[in-house]
């Protein structure tokens, strides 16, 4: 955090000054470690084992915040007797289908609900990254479940969790993670002692957690701990994701993502959502508790914002015009399709995949096989110049005279040359005023896309083709101003906020959304950002003039709420858990919720409210159900549906690991998304042979002085001077073992690439004793590429493509490699070296990666069987990937 989010880290230091104890877990000792009370080095990819150890410590010692857990979580709920745990099945849960590499969730359900659900094989949900829709939208779970308030029933969630993590002992944590037992116990003690009525603890993570083949389950494990300890929805608690781009939160809420529409409405699937009604019902689950019950109004209002007058109740608001998903259309599938010649044109909008995405060579070869590419950026980044300056030019894989890709580079406006909002990592929108005009041909994306739409509509004006109606009927009449006819960002923000169609009055809250076409809302969770016709995101009341919650600086969704689920900061009766941790509470005299923040609860619903039997939607939430977006109003320690790779987190080894999984026969996540493509060779891991060809673990992260793929930092003289060169950090022990000299050169080889870097020998990295052997880890910054003021090889070139099944994010925080002294070869000799490693490691182009490595399912999928068609390939054969 001190490295990549230094200004945010000042608040950790403030907390430390007031007595908070700071623990830092990282494979490498960083500036954060230097300022923490305790630093725990960890083997990359083993966080579930560490956190699972903490869960076990809490449950074994009954250190959970019992009143909170009983009232606000599903700990007491009884699970189906059909459920079988990874402890029973050697690392698999019940319901695993080796043919599809995915789970049927029926046996994971609560008792009595096994037949009631819509759950099925989840291979399709994985392809459309829709697993988490169920977690955010709430999977259909009944309002009334069978519970055991004593938590003694052997099949209640509490006991199931306890058995699941029983073997995650301090000894096992040491064996898997390389963290000494006493250090682990120090962490577990401090965390539990600092939680409860009087105290709260916070958990902070970055992409060190998300970029794994089990990334979602990392975060689930953190959530389980924070929920058991009563740290959710309370001041000083929670889980904070430190995101890495100025508006990456905004571009998720108003998604430029294939599987989502604004406000987390799913992009329709051709088979599951044939009609508007079916689509809406898949979001709201009729009869279910919670605020998603209103999603028909959110969906109708979005389509009304898209298609204006052309969106009517009679035509389902234009639902038929929406493009349909048929499977995986994510960025990595796209890149492989580019290599296979299926994609014609590609836009890059302030992103530099040649350096920033996993498997840089695949990225660049994909771009070299397009008809046309449009790059909009401040600088000539690597993704704009791959056809004349890239590693593949040196190896002869890309020859400019033979590369047909037509490239348009359009200069972009910077953040001071346009106005608009960024949404920062705590969901807060801040409006930026424009300072100066963009230079020359530079334009905002707002200008480019508005005018591109205008030109497309002009060209199609005479068209009678049905496919063109969606463009021609689009509501696209934004006011413009200035010499370049810049569209009004405020007008767009008003549309995002939503308005009453008849009067144009901006809506104040998403509760005003209607499903009859009388409201238009571009992104329902942002409704209120233009409340009372005022740009609330532009508010800049000084921190000196308001309290510590600072509710009048910017605007946070939803409803300017700064802490989500803050009803949980009060006890079931609505009283603060303690005076010290007072935040939101019930005022019985006024008959409403009040406090320092906007209550995340219906304002006048008393704690004693109990819903009538037939209630649904928000009305079905009881007065003590704080988790208002969940289908049962409870925080889930156990997820009966939704998380595709298991109802509880389980330690699996990374897709590339030098070690056998010490906990289960199942080596790696059995539901991870793999792509068997000749370009995507995955290094072998145990129990496969030849893993010793790539004996070292490598991980990557950011430097304080650079930003992501370097497009905004290697181009800036001061930053380039502060970190001028690509380097690799190695421990003194590894340097001695391999023969690396400090400040000398080394090259690193994976099954995809070889890159070179200057050597920094440092005890910031330490060899770890893991499962009776020594594991060496090396660290690299991933910022470097071939353009800019300072250049170097790209660390991301080393990675293959393996994805988390829930969100299709790639595992690019851990992989295996070899490291050798000296510079890498150049030209064709470079390809020969990679080819030599591929040969020695047994990695032919058509290699099948074994998915199931336990024989618990019977002989056919036994460990090491690599001849069979893999589940993933079988799944792919059965589906339309177009």
């Amino acid at each position: 955090m001190a490295e990549a989010h230094p200004v945010g880290f000042q608040w950790v230091m403030e907390a430390k000054k007031r007595g908070a104890k700071v623990f830092h877990v990282d494979p490498r000792f960083t500036r954060t470690s230097a300022l923490a009370d305790t630093y725990l080095p960890i083997r990359a990819g083993t966080d579930i084992a560490l956190l699972g150890g903490v869960v076990r410590y809490i449950l074994d010692n009954e250190l959970d915040f019992r009143e909170y857990v009983l009232a606000y979580t599903n700990a007491a709920t009884i699970v189906s007797e059909k459920f079988a745990d990874t402890e029973d099945l050697d690392g698999l849960f019940s319901g695993y289908n080796p043919e599809t590499g995915s789970y049927d969730h029926a046996s994971w359900q609560y008792e009595g609900q096994e037949g009631n659900t819509t759950v099925r094989g989840t291979g399709k949900e994985r392809d459309s990254a829709s697993g988490l829709e169920h977690e955010s939208h709430g999977e259909p779970v009944p309002a009334q479940t069978r519970r055991d308030e004593t938590l003694r029933h052997p099949r209640c969630v509490y006991q199931i969790l306890k058995r699941h993590f029983a073997r995650y002992t301090p000894e096992m944590v040491a064996r898997v993670c390389g963290i000494p037992e006493e250090k682990f116990l120090e962490l577990a003690r401090a965390w539990t002692e600092n939680s409860g009525r009087e105290r709260t603890g916070a958990l902070v993570y970055s992409v060190g957690w998300t970029q794994h083949s089990v990334g979602v389950q990392y975060i689930r494990t953190g959530s389980i701990i924070q929920t058991l300890l009563g740290n959710m929805g309370r001041p000083g608690g929670g889980i904070l994701a430190l995101r890495g781009h100025a508006s990456i939160q905004g571009s998720t809420d108003i998604p430029t993502l294939f599987n989502l529409l604004p406000g987390y409405l799913p992009m329709p699937h051709h088979a599951d959502h044939p009609t508007f009604d079916k689509w809406v019902d898949s979001i709201r689950h009729p009869g279910q508790k919670g605020f998603w019950g209103n999603s028909r109004a959110f969906a109708a209002s979005l389509l009304k914002a898209y298609w204006g007058d052309a969106a009517t109740p009679e035509n389902d608001f234009g639902y038929g015009w929406l493009p349909r998903m048929t499977g995986d259309h994510g960025t990595y599938q796209q890149v492989l399709n580019m290599i296979d010649g299926k994609v014609k044109g590609y836009f890059l909008l302030g992103q530099n995949p040649a350096v920033g995405s996993a498997h840089g060579r695949a990225q660049r070869l994909g771009m070299a096989n397009l008809d046309w590419l449009v790059v909009r950026d401040l600088f000539l980044i690597e993704s704009a110049t791959f056809w004349k300056n890239s590693p593949e030019i040196a190896t002869g894989e890309i020859v400019p005279e033979e590369c047909r890709t037509e490239v348009f580079f359009l200069p972009a406006a910077s953040h001071v040359e346009k106005e608009g909002t960024f949404t920062q990592t705590q969901r807060m929108l801040q409006w930026r005023e424009k300072a100066v005009n963009p230079p020359g041909d530079a334009r905002s994306e707002l200008w480019f896309f508005y005018h591109l739409g205008r030109v497309l509509r002009e060209k199609l004006a005479a068209s009678t083709k049905p496919r063109d109606r969606a463009l021609l009927d689009l509501a696209w009449d934004y006011p413009t101003h200035g010499a370049h006819a810049e569209p009004s960002a405020e007008a767009v923000l008003r549309e995002i906020n939503g308005f009453d169609v008849a009067t144009g009055r901006p809506l104040n809250a998403f509760a005003e959304a209607k499903d009859d076409g009388s409201t238009a809302i571009g992104c329902w969770i942002y409704t209120g950002v233009y409340a009372d016709g005022v740009n609330q995101a532009a508010r800049r009341k000084s921190r000196h003039e308001q309290d510590w919650v600072a509710a009048e600086w910017g605007w946070a969704w939803p409803a300017n709420r700064r802490t989500l689920y803050n009803r949980a900061s009060a006890d079931p009766e609505g009283r603060p858990w303690s005076e010290r941790k007072k935040y939101v509470w019930w005022d019985p005299d006024a008959g409403e919720w009040t406090g320092y923040d906007v209550p995340d609860f219906e304002k006048t619903k008393p704690p004693s409210y109990r819903p009538p039997e037939d209630a649904s939607g928000p009305a079905a939430l009881a007065g003590d159900d704080p988790f208002v977006m969940q289908g049962d109003g409870k925080a889930w320690l156990y997820a009966p549906s939704g998380v595709l790779d298991g109802p509880m987190p389980t330690h699996y080894e990374p897709a590339e690991s030098p070690m056998r999984n010490p906990l289960y026969g199942q080596q790696a996540n059995p539901t991870r998304k793999i792509y068997e493509h000749p370009i995507n060779r995955i290094n072998p891991s145990p129990p496969e042979p030849h893993s010793e060809v790539f004996p070292y673990v490598f991980t990557v992260s950011r430097l304080t002085e650079h930003h992501t793929a370097g497009g905004m930092s290697r181009t800036v003289p001061r930053l380039a001077e502060l970190q001028p060169e690509m380097f690799v950090e190695v421990s003194p022990e590894l340097a001695a073992e391999v023969g690396l000299a400090h400040l000398g050169w080394a090259h690193l080889i994976s099954g995809r690439a070889v890159i070179e870097a200057r050597v920094l020998v440092t005890d910031r990295l330490t060899p770890l004793r893991v499962d009776g052997r020594i594991i060496h880890q090396v660290w690299l910054p991933y910022h470097f590429g071939s353009e800019g003021l300072v250049t170097g090889d790209s660390a991301n070139d080393l990675f293959g493509i393996t994805l988390d099944p829930n969100v299709l994010i790639q595992e690019s925080k851990v992989g295996t490699c070899d490291i050798r002294s000296g510079r890498r070869p150049t030209g064709p000799a470079l390809l020969d070296l990679v080819g030599d490693y591929q040969r020695r490691a047994g990695m032919p182009p058509d290699r099948k990666v074994p998915i199931v490595t336990t024989d618990v399912l019977g002989g056919e999928n036994a460990a090491g069987s690599t001849d069979e068609q893999t589940p993933e390939a079988a799944a792919r054969d059965g589906e339309d990937h177009a």
Binding site: S247, P323, F379, T405, L474
Partner: protein, 189 residues
């Protein structure tokens, strides 16, 4: 210059007699630095802005004069950052005023070895033509069972996390209306 003026101009004298006994402020100031004026004081205006790098959302004050950015500083009013900026945020004036920034459209013809110039309006028109052609070539009305698809898989887009919400909104709205499904950004990586 009289003797009195000379003595009074002597830093030690100023340190002993003035308000700065430690000699770290007014007493140590040279005539040259006394004459300097901060760029922030001579600016035509200041825009309240936000740092463009990570997602912490530090407040920035962007000072400008004669249509050029002259200084970018942390916003002391911000409850997030309290006026602080990290090395990257502090360098953001160098980012936006960098001589390496491209201000002209660049065009690479198929099989070419060098860039060419291209007029912005022409580029926009050519891109629109290519979108329509790619869309026509790869359009899918329905699947094998006659269910609607309404899409093209011939067009992809990547990026959005460095852009404004309003921009992401228009990007998604336009691509969705043209049937382009393969829209992705940094949140996927």
């Amino acid at each position: 210059m009289g003797l009195k003026t000379f003595i009074q101009g002597w830093p030690v004298y100023r340190q002993l007699t003035g308000t700065d006994p430690l000699g770290r402020g007014a007493a140590a100031q040279s005539a040259r630095s006394a004459e300097l004026t901060a760029r922030t004081e001579t600016a035509d205006g200041v825009a309240r802005s936000v740092c463009p790098y990570c997602a912490v959302g530090c407040g920035q004050r962007v000072f400008h004069k004669d249509g050029r950015v002259t200084q970018i500083e942390g916003d002391p009013d911000s409850p997030i950052s309290r006026g602080r900026l990290c090395p990257k945020g502090s360098a953001s004036k160098s980012l936006v005023t960098s001589p390496l920034r491209q201000t002209k459209v660049r065009y690479r013809r198929p099989y070419a070895t060098e860039w060419e110039d291209l007029d912005l309006d022409v580029a926009l028109d050519m891109i629109a033509d290519r979108i329509l052609a790619a869309r026509d070539e790869t359009w899918e009305d329905v699947d094998d069972e006659g269910r609607p698809l309404n899409r093209t898989l011939g067009i992809s887009s990547l990026g959005g996390a460095t852009l404004d919400n309003e921009e992401n909104y228009l990007i998604k709205k336009l691509f969705t209306a043209m049937g382009a499904l393969q829209i992705e950004n940094q949140a996927r990586i």
